[in-house]
């Protein structure tokens, strides 16, 4: 059975991919992120737009081939995400 993922977990997966699992130095393409995060194109587009506007991701690449890299605030957010995921897990909950 497929595991249910919260919105927060999907964001965590996307940020973790852009931090740990990049295709090349320019960043990860949308197609690559769709495959890694296992999420639809329409949904990931909204999330990526939000993450870029929040400063957690940086958009790189030229027009037509957008790529995404994690920013410094994104790294800090991901660190906090892991810390508080463990914190919530201690209470038998997921964030």
């Amino acid at each position: 059975m497929a595991e249910y993922r919260t919105h927060m977990k999907i964001i965590g997966d996307i940020l973790a991919t852009t931090r740990d699992d990049l295709q090349d130095e320019d960043g990860a393409s949308v197609t690559y992120l769709i495959r890694k995060a296992n999420i639809s194109h329409s949904r990931i587009s909204i999330i990526l737009k939000t993450l870029v506007s929040q400063g957690l991701l940086e958009k790189t690449g030229n027009q037509g081939s957008n790529k995404y890299k994690i920013s410094e605030p994104g790294r800090e957010f991901l660190q906090a995400y892991y810390t508080f995921t463990n914190f919530a897990n201690d209470f038998g909950l997921s964030i």
Binding site: F87, F91, L93
Partner: protein
């Protein structure tokens, strides 16, 4: 002896609740997670509930000196704690705690106005026991899913608090027995067990960020 234990219990409850509440709030501010927001409300309420009772004992000890704490203060503190226990249980997906019918919702509160504060205290203790037992079982079940050892400690903590509530409630049957003191010692053990995994959370390099929608 009971007075001293009561003071220790309420002070520890206030501090443990406050620390976990603050950590949940920091987590909420950093991640925007609704789960952490519910935990913030839960542990803030628990902390406030213990603080109200502790304040009642302090006022009695240093100001009024009547020999016993005002019953309504005790009831108020327990009621506020019950709200906190509700939010812990609610985080474990209690979706139908209240009746769906608006009629039952409106009349359901009436019995609370027909009973004395002593009876209210019994009701709140009973509800707290159910909520805490539910939270303990759900937390233990989550351990079997993710094998997170901290969940055992939290589950034991909630379980001991539930047991403490039950023994405390049962002590009304045998008022002069050791049961009430035992209930407070059990609850102190529960609060310590709750705090153990939380004390291991590394908070270095975590700062407040804007909420993520």
């Amino acid at each position: 002896m009971e007075f001293l234990l009561e003071n220790i219990l309420n002070l520890i409850g206030f501090l443990v609740g406050l620390v976990i509440g603050i950590m949940s709030y920091i987590g909420f501010r950093n991640t925007g997670s609704p789960t952490l927001f519910r935990l913030t409300i839960a542990f803030s309420s628990i902390s406030l509930g213990f603080f109200v009772i502790w304040t009642g004992y302090m006022v009695e000890d240093f100001v009024t000196k009547t020999g016993s704490v005002e019953r309504w203060i005790q009831t108020l503190g327990i009621a506020i704690q019950t709200v906190g226990y509700f939010f812990i249980a609610f985080s474990h997906s209690i979706k139908s705690f209240f009746p769906k019918s608006s009629y039952f919702r409106s009349v359901g509160i009436i019995p609370l106005f027909l009973v004395s504060s002593v009876q209210l205290e019994h009701i709140f203790r009973s509800v707290s026991f159910i909520l805490l037992a539910y939270g303990a079982i759900e937390t233990m079940l989550s351990y079997f899913d993710n094998k997170n050892k901290g969940a055992i400690s939290v589950s034991v903590g909630l379980g001991l608090l539930a047991l403490g509530e039950f023994v405390g409630w049962y002590s009304f049957v045998f008022p002069e027995s050791i049961l009430y003191s035992a209930s407070m010692i059990i609850k102190i053990g529960g609060l310590i067990a709750l705090f153990i995994p939380v004390s291991k959370v590394p908070l270095t390099k975590i700062k407040f960020n804007g909420d993520l929608e």
